[in-house]
């Protein structure tokens, strides 16, 4: 169990380092598109860190964990609607300009972060 937590922690650090490297490269080259498309690495790092915290609890498939999973997904659904409305509004009003792949990347990253962070928060509450 201890090694699995460490493995998730290691994967998280690798993903974070990769994201920082790509973010620095994107900033130097001035390519903001590259930055938004690589947000997925940051989301993966967040996911790995959350899983390293949740792992000992998540391997127990009891009703508390089922409740936490269900509630996390439930809250994330509304978060997804909020993100979609926000992005649509920003794109329609031309406040930001994103390509299709950038939009999907941002939305995916936000969803990954929301689901896993909500599970961590809910596991603290319940």
């Amino acid at each position: 169990m201890k090694y699995s937590r460490l493995a998730f922690l290691f994967i998280g650090i690798v993903d974070l380092v990769l994201f920082v490297f790509l973010a620095v490269a994107a900033t130097i080259t001035g390519d903001t598109g590259l930055l938004s498309e690589n947000l997925i690495w940051l989301a993966m790092a967040v996911m790995a860190f959350c899983l390293s915290y949740l792992f000992p609890q998540f391997i127990q498939k009891d009703e508390r964990m089922k409740l936490i999973r269900q509630k996390g997904i439930f809250f994330s659904f509304f978060a997804f609607l909020f993100y979609s409305i926000l992005l649509t509004t920003l794109l329609h009003t031309n406040l930001i300009q994103l390509t299709g792949s950038e939009t999907i990347s941002i939305l995916t990253s936000l969803m990954i972060c929301t689901v896993f962070i909500s599970w961590v928060v809910l596991s603290k509450i319940y």
């Binding site: 609890q57 127990q60 009891d62 009703e63 508390r64 964990m65 409740l67 509450i125 319940y126």
Partner: protein, 64 residues
């Protein structure tokens, strides 16, 4: 919902770990139930009551 689970557990000399193992749930679940942060499902509450050879109402009751 409130509960007297810690008292019943102490009377029967069962630790949180022991109770969790007997019920097939995690220790965290027992802690959450005892602190009232989480209400167990009816099957789990019945299992707990059966384990302590009593009625569910004696362990779990509404906070009025």
């Amino acid at each position: 919902m409130k509960n007297d689970l810690p008292e019943y557990r102490k009377i029967h000399g069962i630790s949180q770990d022991g109770l969790a193992a007997k019920l097939g749930v995690s220790r965290q679940t027992i802690i959450s139930i005892e602190k009232g942060r989480y209400n167990p499902s009816l099957p789990l509450a019945l299992q707990i009551a059966r384990l302590f050879n009593t009625y569910v109402e004696n362990i779990f009751f509404l906070d009025e």
